[in-house]
Amino acid sequence: MANGTADIAAPILQLSNLSMTFESAHVTVVALQDIGIRIGRGEFVTVVGPSGCGKSTLFNILAGLAEPDAGAEIRYHGETKRALELLGQVAFMPQRDLLLPWRRVVDNAILPLQVEGMPRAAALKRAEPLFGEFGLSGFERHYPQQLSGGMRQRVALMRTFLFERDLTLLDEPFGALDALTRSLMQRWLLEVWQKHQRTILFITHDVEEAIFLGDRVLVMTARPGRIKLVLEVPLARPRPSSMLTSPEFIALKRQVLAAIEEESVKSFQQTAAD
């Protein structure tokens, strides 16, 4: 299903005409305008764009935390839904790990299962086999404040994965990590994704990351946030890190960078004019 051949004909998520306007007493900001996205089952789609392009707003809508302007159409599994109906239907991982400092690693990981009403013992049993895979063996009884940034992020990812939903939203999960840890985490995430056959929508600032991970890359524009470019990534999987220097990769990168640069300049001018 993956490898760019995802089943777009029967998409898991379909957005059209999605706009989001924030109005306050003095200003009206159009954060998103006419967004249209189709995501097939098992696809790994990455979203890249300049800061302030409304990527996080898009995620909040998909997680059911915000309602877009009237006229937007959201189809999840083919059914038309209001954004608020997606609350609890989509696994959402925000930028910060947001671990609860009073819970041990294991209890942080099973939080969504407990919220769903699963007894702790059953939830622990479900989580147990995953600790090795998430590189957390031996740290189950630690508190988050005893872990490194990379490990905390893996706990947050494990928590997101235990909240088994058909769509997983990851908002710059590796943004705060150093380059080395980051590239390790990317390859690890691809393994986990392929093994568990999840559908992932992944936000990032990093063009290389977007291409390296994605079946498709969506490039967003600065305010108002629109989708400027949809780029298929025809690179074979599994993808070794040596791929980052291949001519095909560099050609894709050039294409994305050109689109982004145009947007960044626009965004910069906007800020200067404000």
């Binding site: 935390l65 609350l87 609890g88 925000p94 609860l100 009073w102 404040q145 909240f163």
Partner: protein, 248 residues
């Protein structure tokens, strides 16, 4: 072991020595300032009297504290969850604290009689306020992103309350409990002044009327020791169980 514990003990012994020597050197009569040895002699001579007073006053303090903490937690939570409720009642809570507790004392005795419950009521009154304020503030300061995350897991109001708001507010609630138990002790002692037959407050009054200064000082030391003990107890509980203050 913390360094300097021995030194602290030595300093305490030094102060007692200075007290003893100073009072003798200046020839102050026992009606002005008793010697340290006279104070301790009085303490040793009346173990039963002291023990009964301590047990009674501690009972009043702990009962008042427990009820006050429960009331404070309840109202604080309600204020945190409902803005409307907070607007309606919170100003009254603040206003009530502007009235000195002494002003209520006589009323409480008339309503609840001269027994233990009038003292408990005063201790309750003093404990409830800081616990209410800190519970409310602690819960209101809950991290909105963590709130959004739990909601994205499909969590409802109760789940968010028990799994997020309460633990999030616990460090600030613990700070209020430490303050509350100290205030509760004051409330219990002052409450006894409105009339009773047992308790440290009563012993203080009797010592005053009899101009029994060694007894008065003995009681002052006992009250101080109790205050330090309960504060240290809560401090230890906080350190052991509520360790995430720095992380939120």
């Amino acid at each position: 072991m913390r360094t300097g514990f021995g030194a602290q003990l030595a300093a305490l012994a030094g102060i007692l020595m200075l007290w003893e020597v100073g009072v003798r050197a200046f020839g102050l009569g026992s009606h002005v300032m008793p010697t340290a040895s006279a104070v301790f002699r009085d303490l040793w001579a009346n173990p039963e009297l002291m023990a009964r007073g301590i047990v009674r006053t501690m009972t009043e303090t702990l009962l008042g504290f427990a009820i006050g903490a429960a009331i404070g937690f309840g109202f604080g939570s309600a204020f945190a969850v409902s803005r409307a409720f907070e607007r309606l009642l919170f100003p009254l809570f603040v206003l009530s604290q502007a009235i000195p507790v002494i002003a209520f004392g006589a009323l409480v005795v008339m309503w609840l009689g001269n027994g233990i419950w009038s003292k408990v009521a005063i201790a309750t009154y003093l404990t409830a306020f800081p616990v209410t304020v800190n519970t409310c503030r602690g819960m209101q300061s809950v991290d909105p992103q963590r709130l959004a995350l739990l909601r994205s897991f499909g969590a409802g109001g109760w789940t968010i309350f028990w799994r997020l708001r309460v633990p999030f507010a616990l460090p600030s609630i613990a700070a209020a409990l430490k303050l509350g138990i100290s205030l509760g002790l004051i409330g219990a002692i002052v409450g006894e002044w409105f009339g009773d037959t047992v308790g440290l407050g009563i012993l203080l009054l009797q010592a005053m009327y009899n101009e029994n200064l060694p007894r008065l000082w003995a009681l002052i030391l006992v009250c101080g020791a109790i205050g330090i003990f309960i504060y240290a107890l809560f401090e230890a509980i906080e350190r052991r169980w509520i360790f995430w203050k720095q992380e939120i």
